[in-house]
Symmetry: C2
Amino acid sequence: MKPVIVVHGGAGSIFKDREEGARSGIIRAALKGYSILKQGGSALDAVEDAVVSMEDDPHFNAGCGSVLNEKGEVEMDAIIMDGKNLASGAVSAVKCIANPIMLARLVMEKTEHMLLTDHGANLFAKAMNIPEIPGEKLITERSWERWSKKLEADSNPQEDKKESGTVGAVAIDNEGNVACATSTGGLSNKLVGRVGDSACIGSGGYADNHVGAVSTTGHGESMMKVVLARLVLYHMEQGMTPEKAADTALNYMKTRVGGLGGVIVVSNSGDWTARFSTKQMSWATVKDDWLQYGIYTGEMHTSSVAEALGSK
Amino acid sequence: MKPVIVVHGGAGSIFKDREEGARSGIIRAALKGYSILKQGGSALDAVEDAVVSMEDDPHFNAGCGSVLNEKGEVEMDAIIMDGKNLASGAVSAVKCIANPIMLARLVMEKTEHMLLTDHGANLFAKAMNIPEIPGEKLITERSWERWSKKLEADSNPQEDKKESGTVGAVAIDNEGNVACATSTGGLSNKLVGRVGDSACIGSGGYADNHVGAVSTTGHGESMMKVVLARLVLYHMEQGMTPEKAADTALNYMKTRVGGLGGVIVVSNSGDWTARFSTKQMSWATVKDDWLQYGIYTGEMHTSSVAEALGSK
């Protein structure tokens, strides 16, 4: 099997001054994940590393750069899933951790559980020797400014909810194993303890070697209502292509519950797609040593991996 | 539409000395839910009241009577879902609340979110004037005894994990709306902050007027791996009866991930089933003023509602 990776940096409206950063970030993440796959690494390692790269990048709403909750704190959700045995690990509403996706993977590999939340996730991190960092280290100047503005009475509370930036990755490795990973700071100004789709198996992501892998982004509560990631794979089980399955599921989410979002998909035969019903979604993929990426509907740039690595 | 309610009091191995209590508890819950439906009440009200009745009953692993985590505390998960618009509310790892299912409903109705966790769920409860109760009030003498025993080196740590008792309900009302509710204390001796299927939409429950409603019980992590409740409804969408869909999904969970459990289902035409791959599951249903209930495979008692109310 030829390895494939697809990443996204969130669906929604990307601010003009953030486009370039988002573009570089998704390309970097896709190339990182692909280099693992090319060296014979697992889909699981590839999606984890790609997501870590975006968690560390302040352009995305995950890890450093996460949006703030109603109290001005960062609380993050993340999930990872192994398509081989349906094993999965997740954390929800976790604070003061640089890379929630790494903690999610430890939940999968080191516990009998699948989801650890809040304080319990931090206790587990401590037991695993994952260092806590000061919460402020995850807060960028921009996140803080935008959050502060929201407190003004004349701001529009709906506008900021559109801030996108959840990150995710799906991959298939040369053994035909698929995996997905999703990580987010969630909704701006959310209630303390709000958990979105990204910690919820089937909604924020799903991976099954019998079908493929999906990572989602967009309005979390809508994606939960339709269990979006699993829905895409059901459609593929019924014979749809990844693209048709993604569009059908996104269209259903729009008509049934009025929600917008985006998905990245890889099938167990290596077909992939990146589709969205929002105005934009930053995405990138590498297959056959060719990098492709875009942000707007219909936008797709292509370059060789060698060229992309050279220009980095 | 003739109203129907089905409840369960958990799948697993029910201790002999607990059978009678479980039987009375599920019958009481089913009759409570049915009386609401008969008076023209909503499926949502019926499943909530049925689950509250079992949360208040120390025979079940939900509310008072919940099993204890590794620290000897009660941490509870609950979800409720409205099949009309796919709205849902849930709480995870919540402490010191008598009826988590009532809090889950408030999350659905009073916030823009679907899942609040841990400390955040308690902050929300406070804002809603839901009183906190001392954690000890949820701990029965039996829960405490069993938890204490587990600390002895010579106990069998696997045995207690089989303690069942998650509770749930599904219903259809006379307007044809379906709903589900699930509530649990989770796994005995779980890590602090472990969240199971019961807080996770699609795994612990799902309700959709276009198909039906499902509540699940059993090994939480296995049910999450296969997104069990949603899986049952997919099979029904493909034309299977509730019974066939339940058996197909439970069998898949057993063969794919080695997990056992049980489900209760009501279809949008009022057909119902209660199926399980564990040794036992306590369940009860009322339809057409007839009560049916059982615990063991193949066991089904029938009596009129009037008779059952008389003997209460």
